[in-house]
C-alpha cells in the first residue's frame, strides 16, 4: 500500500515540471510585460532598463526558467515584480482564504450532495427524486459568479442578513462557500444517485433483503458504502472544478485568495506571482486527485489488494 502511495507521489514530480514549463512559456507569450506597470510620469529609460535587468527579463526564456527553477529548489519562488514581496510570502498570505473557502465548499458540497443523492435514490421516480434532480441540475448549470451575485442581492441587500464580503470572519465565509458548494453539491448528488441506483441493482442487495435486513440498514450501510467509492473518485477528479469555481467567487465576494492573486497577477503580467499561484493551484488539484486515489484504494478492498 505504501509503495503505491509513494509511487503516486513520485509520479507528481514530472507532472509538476511539465506544468511549470507550460505555465512559464504560456505567460511569457501573453503580450505585455510587468515593467510597464512600474513606469510612472517622469521615469527615465535608464531606470526602466535597470528594472528589466533586475528581473532578468532581458535574458532568453530558457535561462529565465533555469533561474526560476534553481531558486525554486532553494524554496524561493521569486519576488513579485509589482508587489516587491517574496511570492512565498504572498502565497502564505492568500492561501488561507482560498483553502478555507475551498475546503468548506467541498465539505458542504459533499454533505449536501450525498444527502440529496441518497434522498433521490431512495425515492426513485417520485416527485422528491425529480425535485432533487432538478435542483442538482441547476446547481451544476448555474455559473458560480451569478449565483454569488444573486445571493448577495438576496441575503445581504434585500434581507440584510449576512455580510457581503470581507474575509476575516467565519460569517463572511457562508455566502461564498454556499455559492461554490452548491455547484459541487449538484454534481455529487447526481453521481451519488446514479451510483446508488447501480449498486441497488446488484445481486447482493437482494440477498441482504433475504437476510432480513431493513431497508434503511441496507441503504445506509451497504448501498451507500459501495456507492461512495465512485463519488470519492470523481470528487477528487473534480477538485479542480471546485477550486476553479472559487476564482470568480473570490472576485465577486472580494476575498483576497489565490484566485484574486492570480487574476491581478495576470492582468499586471507579474510573472513570478502567476507562476507561483498557478503552480500552487495546479499542485493542489494534483494532490486532490492523488488523495482521492489513495482514499479510493482505502475504501475499496478490491483496489487495495491490487496495490498490495
Amino acid at each position: 500500500m505504501w509503495q503505491f502511495v509513494i509511487r503516486r507521489l513520485l509520479l507528481m514530480i514530472p507532472i509538476f515540471f511539465v506544468l511549470s514549463v507550460i505555465i512559464f512559456s504560456l505567460i511569457h507569450i501573453v503580450p505585455g510585460n510587468p515593467i510597464d506597470n512600474l513606469i510612472g510620469p517622469g521615469m527615465t529609460k535608464a531606470h526602466e532598463q535597470k528594472l528589466i535587468e533586475k528581473y532578468h527579463l532581458d535574458k532568453p526564456l530558457p535561462v529565465q526558467y533555469a533561474i526560476w527553477l534553481a531558486n525554486l529548489f532553494k524554496g524561493d519562488l521569486g519576488t513579485s515584480i509589482i508587489e516587491k514581496r517574496p511570492v512565498t510570502e504572498l502565497l502564505r498570505h492568500h492561501l488561507p482564504y482560498s483553502l478555507s473557502l475551498g475546503l468548506t465548499a467541498i465539505a458542504l458540497s459533499f454533505v449536501l450532495g450525498v444527502s440529496m443523492g441518497i434522498l433521490s435514490a431512495a425515492a426513485k421516480d417520485t416527485w422528491i427524486d425529480h425535485m432533487a434532480m432538478v435542483v442538482a441540475l441547476f446547481g451544476v448549470t448555474i455559473p458560480a459568479f451569478w449565483l454569488g451575485l444573486i445571493l448577495i442581492l438576496i441575503f445581504a441587500v434585500w434581507l440584510n442578513l449576512l455580510p457581503v464580503s470581507g474575509s476575516g470572519t467565519l460569517v463572511s465565509l457562508i455566502l461564498p462557500a454556499v455559492t461554490v458548494g452548491l455547484g459541487g453539491a449538484g454534481l455529487i448528488a447526481r453521481i451519488t444517485r446514479v451510483s446508488m441506483l447501480e449498486v441497488a441493482s446488484k445481486d447482493f442487495i437482494v440477498m441482504l433483503h433475504a437476510k432480513g435486513l431493513g431497508k434503511k440498514a441496507i441503504l445506509l450501510k451497504h448501498i451507500l458504502r459501495n456507492a461512495l467509492i465512485p463519488v470519492i473518485t470523481i470528487l477528487g477528479l473534480r477538485i479542480g472544478w471546485v477550486l476553479g469555481g472559487t476564482v470568480t467567487v473570490e472576485i465577486v465576494f472580494a476575498r483576497p485568495g489565490l484566485g484574486q492573486m492570480l487574476i491581478t497577477g495576470l492582468f499586471r503580467r507579474d510573472y513570478p506571482v502567476i507562476q507561483g499561484s498557478m503552480l500552487l493551484l495546479a499542485m493542489g488539484i494534483v494532490l486532490g486527485t492523488f488523495l482521492a486515489d489513495v482514499l479510493y484504494a482505502f475504501t475499496d478492498p478490491r483496489v487495495r489488494d491490487q496495490h498490495q
Binding site: 448549470t141 444573486i150 442581492l153 441587500v157 477550486l243 469555481g245 495546479a282
Partner: protein, 294 residues
C-alpha cells in the same frame, strides 16, 4: 433491477432506433430539453425580427429603468432594452457554444481516435496532456489562452476549444481501445482493410455515441465558460450583447438595477439546463453507461 427480469425473460432484440425514438417521446424531461434547445435556436435565428428594440441604440434618458410595460425586463446603463439584448445575446451563446464544442470535438476525436488506435508515443503524449488539463481549473486555462490569443468572440471560441478538446480525446480514445479488440475488427483486417478504413469506417461510427452525448452537455458548459470569461471581461466586445458581458457590466449596478444581472443569468440557466436535460436523456436513449462520460 432490470437484470433480474432479464434473467427470467430475454427481451427480443427490437430495432434499437425505434426504441430510441419511443424513449425520447415518452421522456418528458428529454422533450423539455429538446424544446428549450429548439426555442433557443429559433430565437437566435429570428432575434432581429422579434426584438422589440434595437440591441445597440442608446437612450440615455432611459438609463437603468426598472421593468415596466414598455421594457418588461428593464433597461441597462445606456437605456438599452434588456430583453432585446438577451434575445440577441442568444446568438453569441449559441455561436460560441456550438462552434467551440464542434472544434474541440473535431480536434479531440481525431487525435483521440488516432492515439487509441495506434497507441505508443502519441497515446502517451495525449494521456499526459489530458492529465495536465485535469490538473488546472478550466477557467484558468481558458483565461490564459484568451490572454494569449486576444480579445473577441473568435478568440474565446479558440480558447474554449483548446480547453475542452482533451476531454473528448480521452473519451473517444477509451472507446476505440475497447472496440479495436473486437472480433469484427480482426475480421475486416483479414479481409484486407487498411488502417484508415478500419478506424474511420468501422470503429469511429461505433465510438462516437458517447462523444455526441458529452458534446451536448459540453455546449452547455461552453456557454457558461463564455459567460464566465465575459464576466472577467474577456469575450464579446461592446456593443455586442453577450450574456456574460451583460452580467459583468451589470455588477456595478447590482444595487441599482439588479434586473440587468438577473435576466441574462436566468436566460443562461434555462439554456444550459436544456442542454443538460437533453444530454441526460441521450445517455439513456443511446444506452451509454454513465461512467464512460466521467
Amino acid at each position: 433491477m432490470e437484470t433480474h427480469q432479464d434473467q427470467e425473460s430475454i427481451i427480443p432484440p427490437a430495432n434499437r432506433w425505434i426504441r430510441r425514438v419511443k424513449k425520447i417521446k415518452s421522456n418528458k424531461a428529454g422533450l423539455l430539453g429538446a424544446f428549450i434547445i429548439a426555442g433557443l435556436i429559433l430565437v437566435a435565428l429570428t432575434a432581429d425580427l422579434i426584438s422589440p428594440y434595437s440591441y445597440k441604440e442608446q437612450d440615455l434618458t432611459m438609463m437603468n429603468s426598472p421593468p415596466s410595460t414598455e421594457h418588461f425586463m428593464g433597461t441597462d446603463e445606456f437605456g438599452r432594452d434588456v430583453f432585446s439584448r438577451i434575445l440577441h445575446g442568444s446568438r453569441i451563446s449559441v455561436y460560441v457554444g456550438v462552434v467551440s464544442v464542434g472544434l474541440s470535438v473535431l480536434l479531440g476525436s481525431l487525435l483521440g481516435a488516432i492515439a487509441g488506435y495506434y497507441g505508443g508515443l502519441l497515446d502517451r503524449g495525449l494521456s499526459l496532456i489530458t492529465d495536465l488539463t485535469w490538473s488546472l481549473p478550466e477557467i484558468l486555462v481558458a483565461l490564459l489562452l484568451v490572454a494569449v490569443v486576444g480579445a473577441g468572440v473568435e478568440c474565446v471560441i479558440i480558447a474554449i476549444a483548446l480547453t475542452y478538446w482533451a476531454q473528448y480525446a480521452r473519451l473517444i480514445r477509451g472507446q476505440i481501445l475497447m472496440l479495436k479488440n473486437e472480433i469484427y475488427v480482426e475480421a475486416t483486417r483479414s479481409l484486407g482493410a487498411t488502417d484508415f478504413t478500419i478506424l474511420f469506417k468501422h470503429l469511429f461510427p461505433n465510438a462516437i455515441a458517447p462523444v455526441i452525448v458529452a458534446a451536448t452537455i459540453g455546449i452547455g458548459q461552453a456557454i457558461v465558460l463564455e459567460a464566465t470569461l465575459g464576466f472577467l471581461g474577456m469575450g464579446a466586445q461592446p456593443p455586442t450583447p453577450s450574456w456574460g458581458a451583460m452580467m459583468s457590466n451589470g455588477t456595478a449596478y447590482l444595487f441599482i438595477s439588479p434586473w440587468v444581472i438577473i435576466f441574462p443569468g436566468l436566460a443562461m440557466m434555462i439554456t444550459v439546463f436544456g442542454f443538460n436535460l437533453f444530454g441526460d436523456v441521450l445517455v439513456d436513449i443511446m444506452d451509454i453507461r454513465e461512467d464512460t462520460l466521467k
